[in-house]
């Protein structure tokens, strides 16, 4: 059995940084995490990938091709489809060692997770090769400022979740870059009471808009709540405990299999023991 985190999210949300920090953090606990770069358009990153799609194909190859006239999007899609046609290459690169742990740094384009089933096919192949998977959806925490944007973010994550059909964790990145005021505001959205969030949106502007869409907001709130669907974990890459907790969360997801919803109660034990634990997940940030 092998394990893989699939890191997805919009451009600039901090995927590559997450990969770098996770690998570095894992090394401190003597764990070996391999990073796979799946973004054929990536320029540079701080981690050294064990496997790099650019060894197989690069967007420049696709864009420079005289016959095809690809723009950046077309080139990306072409590269991903090329990868799918050359799965044996990937299988070969991944090797066969049991208990290997990988993190896949994926391209940001949402199209790959919605109406193009490129990513879905890739995940299916991984599962065939005896991998347990967990998707890690990363969003920039600067976007989490009110109930509307919280719902927007949740729906975007749900949209990807629907096609990928694997266990899912959502993360708010760049907490370390937030101002104090923003951090305080953020705490509301880390608390699980989604219905409360939706009901108490204090945005004065467009209260008519809120009224008009109230039914929809309530229904969304209910679905998110009932299925414990989207809980955002804060990510502060400068905080080792935080990184440890997230790794723990993802590890748990993969051991429990794909059908279980993420249950937060399981993390009570570690939190109580450690007073200085600043994971900000259960209690909110101090």
């Amino acid at each position: 059995m092998r394990y893989a985190q699939i890191v997805i999210g919009p451009a600039g949300s901090g995927k590559s940084t997450y990969c770098t920090e996770m690998q570095r953090h894992a090394e401190t606990s003597r764990r070996n995490i391999h990073i796979v770069n799946l973004d054929p358009a990536a320029e540079s990153f701080e981690y050294k990938p064990s496997i790099d799609i650019r060894d197989l194909i690069h967007v420049d190859d696709a864009m420079e091709d005289e016959e095809m006239h690809f723009g950046p999007n077309g080139a990306l899609v072409f590269c991903m489809e090329f990868l799918l046609e050359n799965l044996p290459w990937l299988e070969n690169q991944l090797g066969e060692d049991d208990d290997d742990y990988f993190i896949f740094d994926c391209p940001g384009q949402i199209e790959l997770y919605t109406h193009l089933n490129v990513m879905k096919k890739l995940l299916e192949a991984l599962e065939l090769w005896n991998f347990r998977l967990c998707a890690v959806f990363i969003l920039d925490s600067h976007f989490m400022i009110n109930a509307s944007s919280f719902i927007s973010a949740s729906m975007a994550a749900l949209s990807a979740m629907t096609t990928l059909e694997v266990t899912f964790i959502s993360i708010l990145s760049k907490i370390d870059l937030l101002s104090k005021k923003s951090k305080k505001q953020l705490e509301r959205f880390l608390e699980p009471d989604v219905k409360d969030i939706c009901a108490n949106d204090t945005a004065v502007v467009n209260s008519k808009w809120n009224q008009k869409h109230q039914m929809l907001t309530e229904m969304i709130g209910r679905v998110l709540e009932d299925y414990s669907l989207i809980k955002f974990a804060p990510l502060n890459i400068t905080d080792e405990d935080n990184l440890a907790n997230i790794l723990f969360m993802v590890d748990n997801c993969m051991q429990f299999g794909e059908d279980r919803d993420i249950k937060m109660a399981e993390f009570d034990a570690p939190d109580e023991e450690d007073e200085d634990n600043d994971d900000g997940y259960e209690e909110g940030r101090g």
Binding site: A153, T162, L177, V204, L216
Partner: protein, 376 residues
């Protein structure tokens, strides 16, 4: 006195609405890469030209190779995408986001140009970058949509590839994402099911009308999470009530009239639901109730926003840094640009706005005093 004031007040309340009526409706065309946005804009522009209602077209995609329609403002004239990538050592994604950021700092000029054309333009069309998240999950995207929404009747047009959406799971995923955009931009929303010359969108309309039919289709398609699918189908059912859907073919032009009707309805929605709210807030904040002072404050805040934006853009070397600084990070202007339209509940901008108004008053006072002090 009371009766004399009322017609005045009424004129005051009606004025902003009348003003906006003269302004062009701004269509922000969004959609996944490959959904046919640009072809849609091309077809729409052509059809409007034929109706003698030539639109004002703005291209916001810095990475496109060519623009197949007559464009009035092209981001590529202001920002060189390849240069940006080179200068900041960015990949294609970062290049597009940064280009859009840079363009957003000059957006007030775009506004001025559109306002100048108000007299003879009914519709302004904004073609957005191929990657949708570059617009929806970026500071510049928010700034552009919020600025437009505050000044013109603005409508979001979300283009969907009908052909690819025949799969129920893909359809659901697409609709969930559309919902995400609705909550992000908070503007009247029209879904355009494109490519109906290839596949009719009737199936989509049926799914939207009858959620049980849709739910059955989803369950046949995938076996996981049956309960979840049901709840999501119900939720989407509610979503469909809040939006308008039209079928369209960017190739044949089928659906054009229906689309125009949807735009008209959206403008009414904008004016009845967004404008009164916005005007009410402006009145609450402005000290005096004259139109001139509102405009001055709006313009000042607008310029102020852009100054903050320009400062933050000038120093970054990566798109991540750019975005953080633009949004505020450590500075006092936390999340201002996201909190809604200019003219919002906002200490910093209030103080600055009031300060300029205060100065204006002081100057007026001084003028009055110097007049009265003149020897007769």
């Amino acid at each position: 006195m009371a009766t004399a004031e009322d017609p005045e007040k009424k004129a005051e309340i009606d004025q902003p609405l009348l003003e906006r009526h003269k302004k062009p409706v701004c269509l922000i065309v969004l959609g996944m890469a490959g959904s046919g946005k640009t072809t849609f804009v091309q077809q729409l522009t052509g059809l409007l030209h034929m109706k003698k209602k030539a639109p004002y077209v703005i291209n916001l995609d810095p990475a496109c190779r060519e623009v197949p329609y007559p464009v009035n403002i092209d981001i590529r004239d202001t920002v060189n995408y390849k240069e940006v990538m080179k200068q900041y050592s960015l990949g294609p994604n970062g290049g597009i986001v940064t280009s859009l950021n840079l363009f957003a700092t000059k957006f007030d000029q775009v506004i001025k140009l559109i306002e100048k054309k108000s007299e003879n333009t009914e519709i302004a069309i904004f073609d957005t970058p191929g990657q949708i998240e570059v617009f929806t999950w970026s500071a510049s995207g928010s700034i552009i949509s919020e600025t437009l929404g505050a000044l013109f009747p603005t409508v979001v047009v979300y283009v969907i590839d009908t052909v690819r959406s025949v799969s129920p799971v893909t359809f659901m995923s697409n609709m969930l994402y559309a919902c995400s955009i609705l909550y992000k931009l908070r503007l009247p929303f029209i879904i355009v099911m494109n490519k109906i010359d290839v596949v009719s969108h009737k199936f989509a309309l049926e799914w939207m009308k009858d959620f049980e039919m849709f739910e059955e289709a989803v369950e046949r398609d995938k076996s996981h999470h049956a309960n979840l699918s049901r709840s999501l189908s119900l939720t989407l059912d509610e979503f469909y009530k809040d939006i308008t859907t039209v079928g369209f073919s960017a190739v044949t032009g089928e659906g054009f009239e229906e689309f125009l009707a949807a735009v008209d309805a959206a403008v009414v929605e904008y004016e009845t639901e967004y404008c009164p709210e916005h005007d009410r807030l402006l009145k609450l904040q402005a000290e005096a109730r004259t139109k001139d002072k509102d405009r001055q404050k709006k313009k000042f805040q607008h310029d102020f926003d852009n100054d903050v934006q320009a400062q933050s853009v000038s120093s970054a070397t990566s798109e991540i840094l750019l975005r953080n600084r633009a949004i505020g990070g450590e500075s006092s202007s936390d999340d201002e640009e996201h909190e809604g339209r200019p003219g919002d509940d906002d200490d910093e901008e209030d103080r600055v706005g009031q300060k300029s108004f205060h100065n204006f008053l002081e100057e007026q006072k001084k003028k009055q005093q110097s007049k009265s002090n003149k020897p007769s």
